[in-house]
Point group: C2
Chain length 425, copies 2
């Protein structure tokens, strides 16, 4: 469909057809939801043996009674697993509670209020603190910046990750830029994997930006392939060590989208020096992580092979959902100017760009037809997509039939909004 070449009359006919179709969707009184990047019940059930898995034995391999207080780093088994996932040494990992977001928040708090290089390095000593935010990105990252009054400066995403030229220029010209948020693998929401060159460039940013610059590397989808043998992500800590910037890297991941989303285990990977500094404030804020839950996870996922086997079961459930989304988009928009998107090989999202100025309209129209989409703008800092074009589609929760139905409506809304825009313009 290429509406640019249509006459006004042809557009009017098309508008009527699409509007009629739209009305028929409205009459069906549907309730479909493509908003949340969370696992479905079927996926959660893959880990249901977690409860009861201990079989009365609460001691870990080192003989630690996991039931009691203490052990801020987490248990050895889970340190090993986290170190393997993030590609760091066991001395470079800390195993937390059920939320990697909490580790990110505490890390920003630590940098802001206490400083990774002593009190004088705390960001709140600066007149102004800014973060580079590749867009589209993850709204919960942006919320942390907003909470701490950190100004967000956007950097465009490419198919290889953040635009490195733009990013380097930003960090070079503005010394108040103290951090960057990255989802380097199956990026939220575009689904791309950062190229080796991009990883290496980000690993070295602290050479320009100085020792108080931190990379918040949220590797949330580290093992979340939809198809086997996707491109490996370069090891950012290794890249940083080669450039002498290893203390600037904070890697996060969790089992939230591996086991049970709300009761998983979170990890922080960083240099020994960075971890030591972080522990000094974390130790004030907690009596230690839930080691019993860590032990449960260690039994369910004793090594990377077990993890890979487990993740294939997730892929078996998720892949058909992504296939529907992608084949529907392809059928509707391939070769047209009305929409563009990436075809992710993992993660939880498909990121779709409408023509400029239409994202809010499409999301609103879809809602009226019973399809809930993530609010337009949510993938940008302050909820403001300057071109009003990005929409994040999250197909993990609905069943196949629901996704098919929801995507039909989505396509109709995009087309109808586009035609109306052409007619108005």
């Amino acid at each position: 469909m290429d509406i640019q070449n249509l006459s006004t009359e042809e557009l009017q006919v098309l508008e009527q057809e699409l509007a009629q179709e739209y009305q028929s969707f409205q009459e069906q009184d549907l309730k479909l939801d493509l908003t949340r990047g969370k696992p479905s019940s079927e996926q959660l059930s893959l880990s249901d043996e977690l409860d009861g898995i201990l079989n009365g034995n609460y001691k870990n391999e080192e003989g630690t009674d996991t039931r009691n207080y203490g052990g801020i780093d987490g248990i050895a088994e889970m340190k090993r697993l986290g170190a393997s996932i993030l590609g760091v040494a066991e001395s470079e990992i800390l195993v937390g509670g059920n939320s990697s977001l909490t580790l990110m928040y505490q890390s920003v708090l630590h940098a802001y209020l206490f400083g990774f290089n002593g009190p004088n390095s705390a960001w709140n000593k600066e007149d102004k603190v800014k973060f580079a935010c590749p867009v589209p990105g993850y709204d919960r990252h942006f919320s942390i910046c907003e909470a701490f009054g950190i100004e967000m400066v956007t950097v465009p995403m490419t198919e290889n990750g953040p635009d490195i030229e733009a990013l380097t220029e930003l960090v070079t010209n503005d010394p108040s830029v103290k951090g960057i948020w990255c989802v380097p693998k199956f990026s939220n929401p575009t689904g791309i994997i950062y190229s080796d060159e991009t990883v290496n460039a980000i690993a070295g940013l602290a050479k320009i930006a100085g020792p108080n610059f931190k990379v918040f590397w949220d590797n949330a989808y580290a093992v979340h392939e939809l198809v086997p043998n996707t491109k490996a992500l370069a090891n950012i800590l290794a890249c940083a060590k080669e450039q002498g910037t290893e203390d600037s890297i904070l890697q996060f991941t969790s089992t939230s989208k591996i086991t049970h989303a709300g009761s998983g285990v979170a990890f922080l990977g960083a240099s020994e020096k960075t971890l030591a500094s972080f522990r000094s404030s974390l130790g004030v804020a907690t009596i230690g992580p839930d080691k019993v839950n860590q032990l449960r996870h260690a039994l369910l996922l004793p090594n990377m092979d077990a993890l890979a086997t487990h993740m294939r079961k997730h892929a078996d459930i998720l892949k058909p959902r992504f296939d529907i989304v992608l084949s529907t988009l392809k059928e509707a928009f391939e070769g047209s100017t009305l929409g563009s998107w990436e075809s992710p090989l993992g993660g939880y999202f498909v990121s779709f760009d409408t023509l400029p100025g239409l994202a809010k309209t499409v999301v609103g129209m879809a809602a009226q037809a019973g399809v809930k989409l993530t609010p337009a703008g949510a993938t940008f800092p302050y909820g403001k997509d300057p071109e009003d074009k990005n929409i994040r589609i999250a197909p993990s929760v609905p069943n196949l039939e629901e996704i098919e139905q929801a995507m039909k409506i989505f396509v109709n809304c995009v087309k109808l909004a586009s035609v109306r825009q052409a007619l108005a313009g």
Copy 2:
């Protein structure tokens, strides 16, 4: 034993006897530990059915799938239990993760950086922020103040709680005092229960100190009786409502010393307004609490009767331990000037005061004889006991024989240090 009336010669004889006994302890190469206020393995085992208790059903009474994300307040069953423990409405409770300390930390952070009454009420807008700290008290409370640069001003504890006259005077004369730490029931470490008058006075402090003053009411031992039917603690939120100061009260408790210490469930009780403000920053810091673990706890402890039955089993294990400590102290020091202590009816500690200037010496001597005690000074802000006399004894972990042995050594050390002080003085 009353060494004041002994002649120098008599003291010398006594010193020799005690020194000989001390040496004999040293030769036994013992390793005894009275430091940590944590449950013993036997106590932890009372809750071992937690793992597997769900029997495959991860849905709570409202049909919520506890495995997934979300629900910042926690599940209904646990809100009900927490509300009963703290004596608040179900709209006045938030159920957190495994650490009430984390809720306290996040509350102080919220007051310090974000403000319970909007950004202008944030403590970091003030030139100086101070906390009233009843002493002896809990070192982890003091650590939170230190982390945020909050100056701690001590208030003496009495057998009814903090000295209300001193506290009122402090708050009246110094408007920079913005908070107070309280462990109101079976206080850490003195074991006393705050009197109704004291609770009422603390509930009303915000009338003097203003709306940015907060009471951090750490009711860690709310249901931790050693004997049945101890005095009830007055309901501080109810007292505050009568005085119009309900927004100043933050109550904390947890199941850490009820179920498994490191993997329990924490609670925050506060007015609806205070909770709403707190949620605004907590929601940025977490994807929600571990609801699966909350559901496990709800099945183990479905109501207050079940909780009471469970706590009696703890008392059966703990009481004989406290009995040894208290009877040993009584036998050694009753009617003497060498030591004073409270006889707690619950909680985890016995607080012992030596003659002024001897606590560090006694703790050091005990360590040399194989008995580890909490560092002298730990019960005071900045680790400094101005009279160097308070020692916290935590008898929950060692077995009865070990406590008996440890207490013999403790008594010997107190006597020997006292006699040597008398000889030196």
